[in-house]
Symmetry: C2
Subunit: 335 residues, 2 copies
């Protein structure tokens, strides 16, 4: 792992707080305003007041729906395409079904059956002619090449999972709802993969609650964002070994990296065992199902509390998604 | 299993709707107003609009807190006692801690460690002198005898888990919140063990939404309430083999049976496999953790939908609790 390439750090093409407010209006009748949970037993563990924004209850099971829907709602194109094996595929399939847009979802043939089935169900629900999943063999085909070829052939617009102005603006609406509800926060802990949720949330938080520290949380084995942040040079990881599959992204994006540098206060990492512990805590204390990537923020807040002083104040945490089947959950928390 | 004894069916000593409104006021700053969830994928499965009232998010993890707290708030006694291996023990421990009342909780020595630990944690949190768990050996001791002896010796008031006017009134506040939110409902499906939640909910529903059908749901192997309801004679089961441990209660109560007869429209049963299926559905589609007894209402609503016509209208469902550890959950849904 080594410094790699550093994009233009200009903020010219990044979303403003007004873009995020506009995204909130676009999402109004379509996305859930997700619940905010608190728990006195969690407060005792974290030595502060923890305020959880639960995007595992978002449509299609993750915050990704907000970005996909916002981007799609602004596009005037005969069809869209994305490549994803994860939550963005389901999110775009659902958004396209709701908006009646033709969608092509490029997925690896070895993607979990539950994700393939959910994506297909959303496309069926929309019933838009030409919407389909295209499977590729990850051993022999490169998804970006296949995706670009298909997009060119059929005149489709590619909606990437995070590195896109309108996707970031949509994802930032999570923090908009949280900041409005919480009124004041001493810190906000946000999962970090490609940095879409983190950068959107940071723009909002630094506008609405300027004294709130914004902390991104990555898996220890996928610490590219932390290294990039600390060196101000883009670092890359390749298929890092972590259970947090949504944070296996190779690097921050052209749009997300400059926003993270400007608005985020700190990036920390947590080991996979802290994710397992936080998943179990969510299950047994909060009665909610969270996927490994989804607990990054909570695991970060708990690790931070251990190292910090007696009181941690009011801590916001974004729980980013809950797409995991019951059997995988059990295998992951009992390795 | 045979008809056993039939109590006085008078409604003289049962709570009124006003008692339930008073309970709601007593609970106001202490109980959570639990979230109400909906899910379009669940609606497709159940062929109607399902409105879930999620008491798995209640304090101490189940609706039991409402009844325990309400009863305790009205008592003027040096201390209280209950015998329970389940959610009522935790609920009473927490309520006593919040109100500063001395509590004695009689629990079997083979109770799940997680329940013993949670109960002890609540008692510790309260720090009331004399509050304690008393363990008994279920092979050699009868809990009611031990409980009554201790209550007499120490002048403690027994707070039973369901067959108590103030407990029923507190438990009825679940339906109060649901009916207010839902505005209209065609049917309400409620888990039924001893009938406290069912009878409290039925009083409220028949007052606020008189056209709503109230349906109690029992495990197939513990169908005492169904038989009692249909014959108007109290039937009993003894330690029935079902995963729904909260519905292993031997029979409806002196207070709950007459209310059920008067206000409930139907009692149905579901097999344990329907509970497993509903638990998995809650986990994978709704991202919530529900214990086997807690999904009785949802499993009943789904079974009912299969047998009924094309549209099932607006269906309220009470999810009653979520106290199950992750490993037991996995074992139960994969028998």
């Amino acid at each position: 792992m080594h410094p790699d390439r550093t994009p233009d750090l200009s903020l010219a093409d990044t979303p403003s707080i007004n873009d995020i407010h506009a995204a909130a209006r676009a999402l109004e009748r379509f996305a859930h305003e997700t619940p905010i949970l608190t728990s006195s037993s969690l407060d005792r563990i974290a030595n502060g007041t923890i305020i959880l924004k639960c995007e595992n209850f978002q449509r299609a099971g993750a915050f990704k729906f907000r970005g996909a829907f916002n981007a799609l709602s602004k596009i005037n194109s005969p069809g869209v395409l994305t490549y994803s094996s994860g939550n963005h595929a389901q999110a775009l399939a659902l958004a396209s079904a709701l908006l009646g847009t033709q969608a092509t979802i490029v997925m690896p043939s070895n993607a979990p059956k539950i994700k393939l089935r959910a994506t297909q169900e959303y496309l069926n629900m929309g019933g838009v002619a030409g919407s389909r999943i295209v499977l590729y063999d990850p051993e022999t085909q490169i998804r970006e090449e296949l995706g670009e070829r298909l997009a060119n052939e059929h005149g489709l617009t590619i909606i990437p999972p995070y590195d896109h102005r309108d996707v970031i603006a949509g994802q930032g609406t999570v923090a908009l709802e949280l900041c409005r509800h919480a009124r004041n926060l001493d810190a906000l802990f946000v999962p970090c993969g490609g940095g879409g949720l983190l950068s959107g949330s940071a723009i909002v938080t630094k506008t609405m609650l300027p004294d709130c520290r914004v902390v991104g949380v990555e898996p220890e084995a996928a610490d590219d964002a932390k290294r990039s942040f600390e060196t101000r040079t883009l670092h890359t990881v390749h298929n890092p070994p972590t259970i947090a599959d949504g944070a296996r992204t190779p690097h921050l994006g052209r749009h997300t990296f400059p926003i993270v540098l400007k608005h985020v206060d700190e990036i920390i990492t947590v080991p996979d065992d802290a994710l397992r512990h936080a998943m179990r805590l969510c299950f047994e204390r909060l009665k909610i199902v969270v996927e490994p990537t989804g607990v990054l923020g909570l695991a970060g807040a708990i690790e931070h509390a251990k190292q910090a002083g007696p009181s941690r104040g009011r801590i916001g945490v974004i729980i980013s998604g809950g797409n995991i089947d019951a059997d995988s959950f059990s295998q992951i928390i009992n390795p």
